[in-house]
């Protein structure tokens, strides 16, 4: 289901395009396909809210390795990058998904690891939601993408179209959004991601792009199973 060539996949994009959702779902699907050990690296030092690390407890229960900050610092608004991050380049034992922080400044952190990325091939997939600022036109999307690539020192190798308006998403919204993402011709389109609630088998077969069905991970605190800022004890909404 996941067309994985290189072992390393970097997920980036403008703020709020759905990078973290995609990164976690990618890790979950790789795990479901038995490509263990799967590692998810949260490099988001930009925004404390809605980061992969908040799912760390559940992912680790499944056997997915999550690397973010130095232990105990997951809730601090400090970079505190774990030295363990370098280890995932050295131990070549399974797929690694890197969740970069939003926009070009999120990319900066990847640059810090550029020696690691130079040591083996990697995907660098840009998540595009044409309903978000900085993604609304092809020009804006490319401009942001090139900034990210430059700051991360990693050329973009593909796009994941993630057109949605959260709960107001409809099949039309998805189709129209995909068409707008396709106006970006500089990078190959790898996947169309569709939230499971809006996915009907076969409904998007005519679009000529593999569909990645994702389940919402980063839920609001008031939603069942929503994410609290609880960190270590991994408290969930009742």
């Amino acid at each position: 289901m996941i067309r994985l060539g290189p072992r390393l996949t970097v997920i980036s994009g403008a703020f709020g395009t759905g990078k973290t959702e995609i990164a976690i779902n990618l890790a979950l699907q790789l795990h479901a396909e038995g490509r263990d050990p799967v590692t998810l690296v949260d490099l988001d030092i930009v925004n404390l809210y809605f980061r992969s690390r908040q799912k760390a407890y559940e992912l680790e229960q499944l056997g997915i390795r999550v690397i973010s900050s130095v232990e105990g610092m997951e809730n601090a608004d400090l970079p505190a990058l774990s030295p363990e991050i370098n280890a995932c380049f050295d131990r070549k034992d399974g797929p690694v998904v890197f969740d970069l922080g939003g926009s070009d400044l999120g990319g900066t952190v990847a640059a810090y690891l550029h020696r690691g990325f130079a040591s083996e091939p990697s995907h660098h997939w840009l998540v595009v939601n044409p309903y978000r600022p900085f993604n609304q036109t092809a020009e804006a999307t490319v401009e942001m993408a090139e900034r990210i690539a430059a700051r991360a020192r990693l050329p973009i190798t593909g796009m994941i179209a993630n057109p949605h308006l959260i709960n107001e998403t409809t099949p039309e919204i998805i189709r129209e959004g995909l068409a707008r993402v396709r106006e970006v011709t500089r990078y190959p389109l790898m996947y169309l991601s569709v939230m499971e609630e809006f996915y009907v088998p076969g409904a998007f077969d005519d679009l000529g792009v593999p569909v990645m069905v994702i389940s919402k991970q980063m839920k609001q605190p008031w939603e069942p199973g929503g994410i609290m800022m609880a960190g270590r004890r991994g408290k969930r909404c009742p």
């Binding site: 105990g72 809730n75 601090a76 609290m228 609880a230 960190g231 270590r232 004890r233 408290k235």
Partner: protein, 348 residues
């Protein structure tokens, strides 16, 4: 022996005699006498220090540093300056440090004027700073109380490891009345378990207000609120004047309570059964007293030198059982007894 002192001087001398020989502040009218008095007295006292800070922001943080050594220290200011101290007050509450802040209110908002007002009630009692915290707020009504409540403020601060504010208006700061001061006031609090005095022969102490984990932070806030609950139970203070048979209960604090006392006498002379409740602690607020009087009184009148701030606590206390009216003056105008009498008559 009684001496004739200005409110600002009296509270300063009381603080010194309570052992607070460290003062940090920045000039602002109408509380300049505090800094002036301290700058004269403290350098002559062994271990005493007076610093005119660069800002009120710095003053409150100097207090934060000084009290973290376990010693008594204070600052004072007036409305705009107290606004600047709110960050530091929140940190003091968060780090559970004892400190006394004196607020001599003036007119506002903005630069306003230097006339007396009581419009910083919300600022003092409802937060003002950030986060879930409470500050004990004491409201003297005479120069004698400026001294007594300042001494009490240091005791409460030490007892609960919490910032305490003494709040008064410009009148109380500026007026002179005879006061009686003791030579010294006891300070029996032992802070050696946490004070920063150098880690000689023990593990290092740390003073901080950071709790990264949501659950740890919540546990800590709950701990603070258990303390606040205890303070509400034990430390609520008020004064009643002719309330036993009162149909009309006038609620006023600070200087306005003096006006209201005169008004109550005038009303009684006219045959109107009026009485007064004067909150001495503005937080914790004497809710239970007002709640009880709501069973017998006809109505309540809150009287303030503001556009109505404490009146909301009267309403909360009375819980809708009786009408609560408001009479206030602002800009530096002090209500007169005649005005208060008229305000009561209008509601009869």
């Amino acid at each position: 022996m009684k001496v004739l002192m200005k409110g600002n001087e009296a509270l300063s001398e009381a603080a010194i005699r309570a052992g607070a020989t460290l003062y940090f502040g920045y000039p602002i009218t109408p509380q300049n006498e505090v800094g002036e008095y301290m700058s004269r007295r403290l350098p002559t006292i062994p271990g005493g220090a007076y610093i005119q800070a660069e800002t009120e922001v710095a003053s409150i943080n100097m207090v934060y540093g000084a009290v973290s050594t376990g010693r008594r220290a204070m600052t004072s200011s007036s409305s705009p300056g107290i606004s600047l101290m709110m960050e530091g007050i929140s940190y003091l509450a968060g780090a559970e440090l004892p400190a006394v802040v004196v607020s001599i209110m003036r007119g506002g908002p903005g630069l306003g004027n230097i006339n007396p007002e009581q419009a910083d009630y919300f600022q003092a009692t409802k937060g003002g700073g950030h986060g879930s915290y409470r500050m004990i707020v004491l409201a003297p009504a005479s120069v004698q109380e400026m001294t007594d409540l300042t001494v009490l403020a240091f005791d409460l601060a030490d007892k609960y490891r919490n910032p305490v504010m003494v709040i008064a208006d410009g009148n109380l700061g500026q007026m002179m009345e005879p006061v009686e001061l003791k030579d010294s006031y006891p300070n029996n609090y032992d802070h050696s378990a946490w004070a920063l005095t150098g880690a000689k022969g023990r593990k290092g102490h740390t003073i901080t207000s950071i709790y990264l984990d949501a659950d740890e932070m919540e546990d800590y806030i709950h701990k603070l609120y258990r303390k606040y609950g205890e303070i509400e139970r034990v430390e609520t203070r008020h004064e009643e004047f002719l309330t036993q048979d009162a149909d009309v209960v006038i609620v006023a604090y600070g200087i306005v309570s003096r006006v209201v006392r005169s008004a109550v006498e005038l009303l009684r002379a006219e045959g109107i059964k009026a009485g007064m409740v004067r909150p001495i602690t503005l937080w914790p607020y004497p809710k239970a007293v007002l709640r009880k009087l709501a069973e017998t009184a006809t109505f309540f009148l809150a009287c303030e030198m503001s556009m109505g701030q404490m009146v909301e606590d009267v309403q909360l206390s009375v819980e809708g059982r009786r009408p609560v009216y408001f009479y206030g003056r602002s800009g530096g105008n002090v209500p007169t007894p005649a005005e208060v009498v008229a305000a009561v008559r209008q509601r009869m």
